[in-house]
């Protein structure tokens, strides 16, 4: 059977096109981990992959430890704890959280934000990405705002339709207030008064019942 010339040409062009597209879609190559680190975290990464969790975060955490010249045992411990937080965060943000949301939620859990808050944020935020709101909540808690109060107010903002710009503005203002010597919780209450009037929705009941649950849970 003789293949026509145009068929061969078309086949070659198709192969070239597919190869070019595949090369284009590949992520940039990350440097390999130290063999000892790699061996230590490999079982953790494999378990996370089997559970369909984003393993890139675990590898990045290991690389962070190497950049900071942490011992392998410490890196392994940090990666294991992160894997547990990722699993919890993924469960709390169901259904279909993005990797950025899971990463942000894992950081929030580390800062002491309870998983019930994350669930309430998902319910309140509906289709909005929670990466920024969760990040701002984490930062508020790390600045010293009590986690229960920060949780309720952030969920309230989401229920009222706050966008990422509102959350970033709130964080900026609280930061400036704290630097100027104001108490973080007072600053939060004060600055919310400047944001709420600009939101499209009216206040809702009790931030999806968060006030009755958030304070009762032990922070992770």
């Amino acid at each position: 059977m003789r293949m026509p010339r145009y068929a061969v040409t078309a086949f070659a062009l198709a192969v070239l096109s597919i190869s070019a597209r595949r090369a284009e879609s590949q992520a940039p190559q990350q440097p390999a981990l130290n063999p000892a680190t790699d061996a230590a975290i490999r079982p953790i990464v494999d378990r996370a992959r089997a559970a369909n969790l984003p393993v890139e975060l675990l590898i990045a955490k290991a690389r962070e430890g190497e950049v900071r010249r942490a011992p392998v045992e410490r890196i392994e411990s940090a990666v294991r704890q992160l894997a547990e937080r990722i699993a919890t965060a993924h469960d709390a943000l169901t259904p279909n959280p993005t990797d950025r949301e899971v990463e942000a939620a894992a950081d929030a859990l580390k800062a002491g934000v309870p998983r019930e808050t994350l669930r309430a944020m998902r319910a309140a935020g509906k289709e909005a990405s929670l990466a920024v709101p969760i990040g701002v909540l984490t930062q508020l808690v790390l600045r010293g705002v009590p986690v229960e109060r920060a949780s309720v107010q952030v969920v309230n903002l989401l229920q009222r339709g706050a966008l990422s710009g509102h959350f970033i503005a709130l964080d900026d203002r609280v930061r400036a207030d704290v630097l100027a010597g104001k108490r973080p919780d007072e600053s939060l209450d004060l600055r919310l008064k400047g944001i709420f009037p600009n939101l499209p929705q009216q206040a809702t009941a009790d931030a999806a019942g968060l006030q009755t649950t958030a304070g009762n849970k032990k922070p992770r």
């Binding site: 026509p4 962070e64 289709e127």
Partner: protein, 231 residues
């Protein structure tokens, strides 16, 4: 069985009649052929059985179609519309290639937060299927360009390491501004809270004096914090 066959033949004839380009004598030719087959008996097999043909193909259609390759027609036989195997493979590959090329020529969709109307992201909007909601969230997480600056006039190299570049010390080198002595880089970062630091001369962990700091309990050192998003 004969009834079923007759019903099937009737169905085929109806289909042929419904076609707008069926030649006027096509129906009669099919019926004549069926009759001939019946007379010849069930064991008789026509050579045409292995050939895909289109009895409705008119001269006009064959002239217009670049795929048409009429077989040499013997006197009194119908012309057939046959594609050889290599040609079929060739055309299939060409069609695949055309698909790739057309897809590549289309502009890539670069979603930004600004493209999402308030009604999409605000609470109280119509609840969409989960897959749509996830796609919306992904679109809102389109990276934003952020400039990082460090004043380090005596440094010979400065690199940025953070969770947005997987802490890769080689991924984001900063460029030195000769006039000011400052080092800077513009990096696309996904919205959210990020932690980072500068590596000066490849080894010195340096915090960003313009950014808030946070203690890291995993490794015990401080890091700079930035919250990225459209204001």
């Amino acid at each position: 069985m004969p009834e079923e066959r007759d019903e099937l033949i009737g169905h085929i004839v109806d289909e042929l009649k419904a076609l707008p380009v069926v030649p006027a004598d096509a129906t009669a030719r099919v019926l004549a052929r069926v009759d001939a087959a019946r007379r010849a008996g069930p064991s008789t097999r026509s050579d045409d059985d292995d050939v895909i043909f289109f009895p409705a193909a008119t001269d006009e259609m064959q002239a217009q179609s670049p795929l048409a390759r009429p077989m040499p027609a013997a006197a009194g036989t119908r012309r057939r519309f046959v594609i050889s195997v290599p040609a079929a493979i060739g055309y299939a590959l060409a069609a695949t290639l055309a698909g790739f090329l057309i897809r590549g020529a289309l502009p890539k969709q670069e979603a930004t937060v600004a493209l999402l109307g308030d009604s999409v992201v605000r609470a109280g909007a119509t609840v969409r299927p989960v897959a749509d909601a996830a796609a919306n969230r992904e679109a809102q997480e389109a990276p934003v360009a952020v400039q990082f600056v460090l004043d380090a006039a005596r440094a010979s190299s400065v690199a940025l390491v953070g969770d947005f570049n997987s802490w890769d010390g080689a991924a984001t080198p900063l460029a030195r501004d000769s006039a000011s002595g400052s080092w800077s880089a513009v990096v696309k970062v996904a919205p959210g809270r990020h932690v980072y630091a500068f590596l000066v001369d490849g080894k010195t962990w340096t915090l960003d004096p313009r950014a808030p700091k946070a203690k890291d309990s995993d490794y015990g050192t401080e890091q700079s914090v930035i919250i990225v998003g459209l204001k």
